[in-house]
Amino acid sequence: MSIAPFGAALDSVAVHYPTSWRMTQQGTVARETGGTALDGATCTFPAGAITGLLGRNGAGKTTMIGLLAGFRRPTSGTVRVGPEGYERDPWENPAIVSGVQVVRESGDVMPDEKVGVTLRHYGAVRPEWDADYAERLLDLFEVDTRKNPASLSRGKRSALGATIGLASRAPLTIFDEVYLGMDAPTRYAFYDELLKDYAEHPRTIILSSHLVGETERLFEHVVVVDRGRVLLAEPAEDMRARGTSLTGNATAVDHLAAGHRLLHRQELGPTVMVTVEGSLAEQEAAEAADSGVQVGSVPLQDLFVHLTSTTAQKESER
């Protein structure tokens, strides 16, 4: 059964967590303090595209993903997921949630049963699951299927998550920072598999991250969230065009930068390098060329940091 890729949309969504109690597996009761995770978030995730969901830790990414997968309901606002033109509320909707795969750092596996038990359950629920592909991926990532997830290293658990995400072939597949635990070769193997399988089996993919660098060229679309709000949601090319770097003689650079919102400024002796919002107009570009100011693009990672840093001082990410 083949199904069209799912699109998703949030419309003025707010999520407030109440303070709650939860029983841990050890039988003790843990108190969880509440808070606001999303506050009037509106955006769309276009069907069939790879979208980067970017935001700092605690910005609301995971909550947003939980809404798309029907893990929870919003406090207010609407969430819609489904084939283009047929988006529905995912909450307790088997047609929709059976097509949304979220891979979270927590894994969502049976920690003390062999890996095979978990994979069998995913295969039993998911209509588009490809068991052979799952096996090939576990081989590729060198995950020992005789072990249980609890005894796997963090990297291998991430690889297991990546396997579940890819082999589910879900019309909406979301990776929530899973690849952070993997080592570089595994991460690259994951990107390659993702692109290859995405091309062969078109679907909607969301990659959430607070580290953009390595993945930025995979994105066709980006959604940036900051403190519970959507800062921007647009094609990745548009976001790249949001910033311009100017390097050169201080007076010339500052003159050019004057008409733009300054995002970042760095002095290197008599030379300065600034990042300004937007791109240069034609005559400004000519002026830059005449005065020897180098005009460059800004990596998404830098733009993202500039756009989401609350203070002028650039905070280093953990």
Partner: protein
């Protein structure tokens, strides 16, 4: 077929698939661990019997003293499996509804398996005691002289209820908070006592032979067991259908 029709069909299939998947994963989990438990029970009973026999004779059976622990064991299995499986089930694309349906079916199925095993073991014990020449007695249950069918049926209902109560415990804590959760435990305890009383087994009622035994009491008792399973199923449905997967805020 139209996209909307496709979606509807997909929903029906997905619901059926994920209900079956939840039932299977829970049943397998409980049966695998349960098999270990029963192995231990049998071994313990044999050892007790052997030791007692060494000192000369034994009144009644030994199994009935170990049976009371079986239900609490299944209670804890219900608790652990329900809490660990739900996040995976939702992440795999299942709904709460299919999880609840699978859980209820699984608890009845595992209850039935346990009920039959119990009845078979008691039968074996009775025959063994007879062969050795000991006097076999069974003071638990609705039929004092023992009845395979009634024992299997009442044990089925008891185990199913206990599994579902186990599943309700942590979910109740999440719903009602720390203080409400403690009251919730009392409410669950009430249901525990009710089902034990109905079929006249367990740690509170299982010590003396049922005084007003008879076909009427048997029917009443089994009816009470069915009611307990129904109440527990209703409770599980109410608690789980609205549950949110709490993630760290991020």
């Amino acid at each position: 077929m139209s996209v909307a029709g496709n979606l509807e069909e997909r929903g029906r299939l997905a619901r059926r698939r994920s209900t079956r998947a939840a039932e299977n994963v829970l049943t397998n989990g409980m049966l695998v661990v349960g098999a270990w438990f029963w192995g231990t029970i049998i071994l313990t009973s044999v050892v007790i019997a052997a030791v007692q026999g060494w000192f000369g004779g034994l009144d009644g059976g030994t199994l009935q003293y170990t049976l009371g622990s079986a239900r609490w064991f299944m209670f804890s299995l219900g608790l652990i499996l329900a809490t660990t499986t739900l996040p995976m089930h939702l992440a795999a694309g299942g709904t709460r509804r299919s999880f609840v349906d699978g859980l209820i079916r699984s608890s009845v199925f595992v209850g039935l398996a346990t009920g039959i095993v119990t009845a078979v073991l008691l039968l074996i014990e009775e025959l063994a005691w007879g062969a050795i020449g000991w006097d076999w007695q069974f003071s638990q249950g609705l039929v004092p002289e023992g009845s395979f069918a009634v024992t299997a049926a009442s044990e089925t209902l008891v185990i199913a209820t206990y599994i579902l109560i186990g599943a309700m415990l942590p979910a109740g804590y999440q719903r009602f908070g720390a203080w409400g959760g403690s009251l919730w435990v009392l409410a669950l305890l009430f249901l525990v006592i009710f089902v034990d009383w109905a079929v006249h087994t367990g740690y509170v009622f299982g010590w003396d032979t049922l005084a007003d035994a008879g076909p009427g009491r048997t029917l009443l008792g089994l009816g009470g067991g069915v009611l307990a399973v129904a109440i527990a199923s209703f409770g599980v449905d109410r608690l789980y259908r609205g549950v949110s997967l709490r993630s760290t805020i991020g």
